[in-house]
């Protein structure tokens, strides 16, 4: 705990002075937080009093003309109260986040959510100690309208669509049937338990069936925020992650319907068959309506982004605003806002990403991660504060029975459903999987907010409900959250594979998709692949044309994937300083938008000429390149939402080392090379290689204009070295083989004209690369986290 650890840091951990300072600051801050809020409450009567006095004085002035001193320094807290408090809370949340990572041991044992709740408890306690009214922070409106949407949008935008769709049936089963089962089981049994104990008159006896069922439906829903927070840290394999997480998202529809249904009819006391039927209908409307609303807004966003090429700076705004509007519109009609948000994010993403610039993409990613992080932190802190605050009515029976029933219901539900589901799955769910799914059913702040929304008049047992809900939340988050990590280790559950997709996987996966579709057609079976294929065709034929600007609408998935990979690799290589060794410039040959059609290379390739550099020149070039490149920290390959630290054990690192090795080999080859094969002349108007997005960036660089005697060295400016270096290496290899096989291969890599009387073709190239290096450092100042979670997912592959 930062507040305890400040001045009493354990001697063993040699903390540096800045860290201690930060912890001290945190401690001070927490106290400040505790004191300012009551100040806010306290100062308002002060201010109003002062105003009264002033009024009197003014009135007196009218009569007496007495001058009062001009207030040089004044305290007017009321004026800024609300934004100030909000900022304080956000600041507290952010500093907490910082603080936790300074204590490595603790963050390894205890999940962040637990620590945050504890901090919330502390702050709430401080406020209460100060004798003031705890602000109603987990006000349902604030929660549902401000705190929840960023998290859900983040989840929806980066949802792994392929995994999600593959397991959609399973997820729906768990979300719908599972939640229904939980709700009725818990509600019903609670009612039964409350009815027994006839001996002593028990306040529980007054509890009727419908409120019990309502309570059951509130407490049975798995919470996406809690699941995200805990599962993120355990790095479990994708299947389980998407199952539990998908369930937590989709059960919102069920919860909304059940909640409204039982709330409506609790007053009346009876539910007829007609009502049940209406309930089912309502469920369909809520769920499908939510998805529809989301999809509509998603398409609108995609369509808008198509025209945004001239105002790149506000592109991210469209994504955020349309999504938020989708959420609000759905909430307006009492449809499922969460499903709307997910649908919106998932629908718009492939098209928006094809339209927007690279920087906008980074902005969107960063903003979403930032907001959702802060939101999540705030939610947990507020949970702690609200716990301290809320009027509690502790009832041993009710609470313990609730907790036990929650666990039991979850386990039975998962086992039963898996048994049914496994009949229909190709990859079956094992017992280990079932255990993790059951254990991962965490409850969170949504349950609390729903409980908070209950009307005291209709539900006299509201406090008891709230206490029970909080207990369940605490139990699941603390006990289950803390123990799930060791259990995952103990059971040796498969972890997440950190590797990025290779181009081979991509090609073969597409190939297999086509193969399976063909086989299904031969068998006359309209299966999974058939419908996927149909959807893909529809998408390609109609939708992409509408929603994606320009040439990119016709770009096959594989090309986009390939290009992304090259970009990433290039950025990596340059940042690590590995690309310095090559005198630049073999351009990448992947042509994108804004490329003029290339003339076919001459039928009879002339001699290939690799530049023959005098040794001194080479050295010079190398030094210049080395000097100008900014040595930034190795970017990490795949990342966790909350950490932006490179993990040296990630797969990409090994890959990168391999590349570095290749670079060194290549350098050697250049040194050895004296007499080598030559490259054919490049056609005078070689295509420029900027990506469409970079080209329209305000800071984009244009390729140098072609002129006849200048070797047409065009560098892909975000990646000056590596695709070139890779291609150069290929060229060498190919050239080497040529020596062996004596066959003319088409030149694909190099596009340099033979040095036609110039002192060194490198001269203009060098200047070029100089400038490029400097420009490059600007461009690379913030390429953003290279997450593999979103980069490599083709839409509907």
């Amino acid at each position: 705990m930062p507040s305890r650890a400040g001045p009493h840091s354990p001697a063993g951990v040699g903390k540096s002075l800045p860290e201690r300072g930060l912890l001290l600051l945190l401690m001070v801050f927490v106290f400040l937080e505790g004191s300012v809020l009551p100040l806010g409450a306290a100062s308002s009567p002060d201010i109003s009093h002062k105003e009264n006095v002033d009024n009197h004085q003014v009135a007196a002035v009218v009569h007496n003309n007495t001058k009062k001193a001009f207030p040089v320094l004044d305290l007017d807290y009321k004026h800024v109260q609300t934004p100030f408090e909000i900022s304080l809370w956000v600041l507290l949340a952010s500093l907490m986040k910082l603080g936790f990572h300074l204590i490595p041991r603790l963050s390894g044992i205890v999940p962040e959510s637990c620590l945050l709740i504890t901090v919330g408890l502390l702050v709430g306690g401080l406020i209460k100690l100060a004798g003031e009214q705890v602000p109603p922070v987990l006000d349902s409106r604030l929660f549902f309208l401000c705190l929840l949407p960023p998290i859900i949008l983040d989840a929806g935008y980066f949802l792994p669509i392929r995994a999600f769709m593959d397991n959609l049936g399973t997820i729906l089963m768990f979300a719908v049937v599972g939640t229904l089962w939980n709700a009725f089981f818990i509600g019903g049994l609670l009612y039964a338990v409350c009815q027994i104990q006839p001996a002593n008159p028990n306040p529980l006896h007054t509890l009727e069936l419908l409120p019990c069922l309502l309570f059951g439906s509130i407490v049975s829903a798995v919470d996406p925020v809690a699941v995200l927070a805990v599962f993120e840290e355990i790095h479990i394999n994708e299947l389980l992650h998407i199952l539990v997480f998908g369930e937590s998202l989709l059960n919102d529809a069920v919860t909304v319907v059940l909640y409204h249904l039982f709330e409506e009819y609790s007053g009346q006391g009876t539910v007829t068959v007609m009502d049940c039927f209406l309930g089912v209908l309502s469920f369909l409307v809520v769920a499908l309506g939510g998805v529809l609303v989301g999809a509509i807004y998603g398409i609108l966003a995609a369509f808008t982004s198509r025209f945004a090429s001239h105002t790149r700076v506000i592109e991210p705004l469209f994504v955020f605003v349309y999504s938020y509007m989708a959420y609000l519109s759905a909430e307006m009609f009492h449809l499922s806002g969460i499903m709307a948000l997910i649908a919106c994010g998932a629908v718009m993403r492939p098209y928006v990403e094809a339209n927007i610039s690279h920087k906008s993409h980074t902005t969107i990613k960063y903003f979403l991660k930032m907001w959702s992080s802060v939101s999540e932190t705030l939610i947990f802190i507020f949970l702690g504060v609200a716990t301290v605050d809320g009027p509690h009515a502790w009832n041993w029976t009710f609470v313990t029975v609730t907790v036990i029933l929650c666990l039991v219901a979850r386990v039975i539900g998962v086992i039963g459903l898996t048994y049914v589901i496994n009949q229909f799955r190709i990859v079956k769910l094992t017992t280990k999987d079932q255990f993790i799914i059951a254990y991962g059913g965490l409850r969170g702040a949504i349950a609390f907010s729903l409980g908070f929304l209950l009307d005291k008049n209709h539900f006299p047992m509201r406090e008891m409900f709230l206490t029970a809900i909080i207990t369940v939340i605490f139990f699941t988050v603390f006990v289950q959250g803390m123990t799930i990590k060791p259990l995952v280790e103990l059971l040796a559950v498969k972890k997440k594979q950190e590797a990025k997709r290779s181009i081979n996987e991509e090609i073969h996966t597409q190939f297999l998709d086509h193969l399976l579709t063909g086989i299904e057609d031969i068998c006359g079976h309209y299966g999974h692949h058939h419908w996927k294929d149909k959807l893909n065709r529809f998408n390609k034929k109609y939708v992409k044309k509408c929603l994606i600007a320009g040439e990119r609408s016709r770009e096959p998935q594989l090309i986009a994937f390939y290009h992304k990979m090259e970009m990433k690799q290039a950025i990596e290589l340059v940042e690590s300083g590995g690309g310095v060794n090559l005198p630049s410039a073999v351009p990448s040959t992947v042509s994108m938008q804004n490329i003029q059609p290339k003339k076919p290379p001459p039928a009879k390739p002339a001699e290939r000429a690799l530049p023959q550099l005098p040794r001194g020149r080479e050295e010079e070039i190398r030094n210049i390149l080395r000097g100008n490149l900014q040595r930034t920290r190795q970017r990490l390959r795949s990342y966790n939402r909350h950490t932006l630290v490179a993990d040296p054990y990630e797969d990409g690192f090994g890959d990168f080392l391999l590349k570095k090795q290749k670079m060194i080999e290549l350098e050697k080859k250049i040194k050895d090379m004296n007499n080598y094969l030559t490259v054919p002349a490049a056609p005078p108007d070689s295509p420029t290689m900027c990506r469409a997005r970079l080209a329209s960036d305000p800071q984009a660089y244009r390729g140098k204009p072609d002129s006849d005697n200048v070797p047409t060295i065009h560098v892909d400016l975000a990646s000056p070295q590596s695709p070139d270096s890779v291609n150069m290496m290929d060229e060498f290899r190919r050239a080497g083989q040529q020596q062996k096989h004596q066959q003319q291969e088409e030149n694909q890599g190099l596009m340099m004209k033979p040095p036609s009387g110039q002192s060194g073709p490198k001269k203009p190239g060098e200047a070029d690369s100089d400038r490029d290096q400097q420009k490059l450092t600007r461009c690379l100042s913030d390429p953003g986290p290279s997450a593999d979670e979103d980069e490599d997912e083709p839409f509907l592959p």
């Binding site: 996987e505 090609i507 073969h508 193969l515 031969i522 999974h528 770009e555 090309i559 090259e566 042509s591």
Partner: protein, 193 residues
């Protein structure tokens, strides 16, 4: 399905096939019905024309190859047994081995991959050469892609997968490059359990 047993008698070597491929009698029957549907001229065998009559295969970029895979070397026709044997590759893997099941069932991971590999490797030399890879890429991506782009992708793919530097992808290299993909999931049709 009262007449199922009598229909089963029409299927030549039904028992043997079931044993070999692991299909249940219901599935075998369904496949036989499909076979008869495709075999419009009622010859008891299928020709490439019969396959091409399945309209959707024409839209499939590798439709021709798939049809070709049914006809082993030099053969003009496919009988029911071969038809079933090919389709047996696409059964989901058995989680529990039945007694008497063949040691290397058609739907094992290796066999599935081998089948896919053979679709790439048209000349049957056991290696996917650059040319063959280019053909596949060209087929999958149609006319929107320039030759240059295809070359880059093929180059990159071979570079990644080719571990022994012979500029072609052998079956082992192919297997290795797909080790992270759940082949059982990717290459199974639920229908054919």
């Amino acid at each position: 399905m009262g007449s199922s047993s009598s229909n089963m008698n029409h299927i030549p070597d039904a028992e043997e096939l079931m044993q070999e491929t692991g299909f249940s009698s219901a599935h075998l029957l369904r496949l036989y019905e499909r076979f008869e549907f495709l075999d419009r001229e009622k010859r008891g065998e299928l020709t490439p024309d019969d396959f091409e009559a399945v309209g959707r295969l024409a839209l499939n970029p590798i439709g021709g190859r798939i049809i070709g895979a049914f006809f082993s070397q030099g053969q003009e026709t496919v009988d029911f047994a071969s038809f079933v044997r090919i389709l047996a590759h696409f059964r989901p893997a058995d989680t529990n081995r039945r007694d008497g099941a063949p040691q290397d069932p058609a739907n094992s991971r290796t066999r599935k991959l081998k089948f896919a590999f053979q679709l790439y490797d048209q000349d049957g030399d056991g290696m996917i050469s650059r040319v063959e890879l280019l053909q596949v890429l060209r087929a999958m991506m149609g006319i929107q892609v320039t030759e240059e782009q295809l070359q880059s992708i093929a180059e990159r793919a071979i570079q990644e997968a080719d571990l022994d530097r012979d500029d072609a992808i052998s079956f082992d290299e192919f297997k290795k490059s797909l080790e992270k993909v759940n082949i059982d999931h990717k290459m199974s049709i639920l229908f054919l359990r």
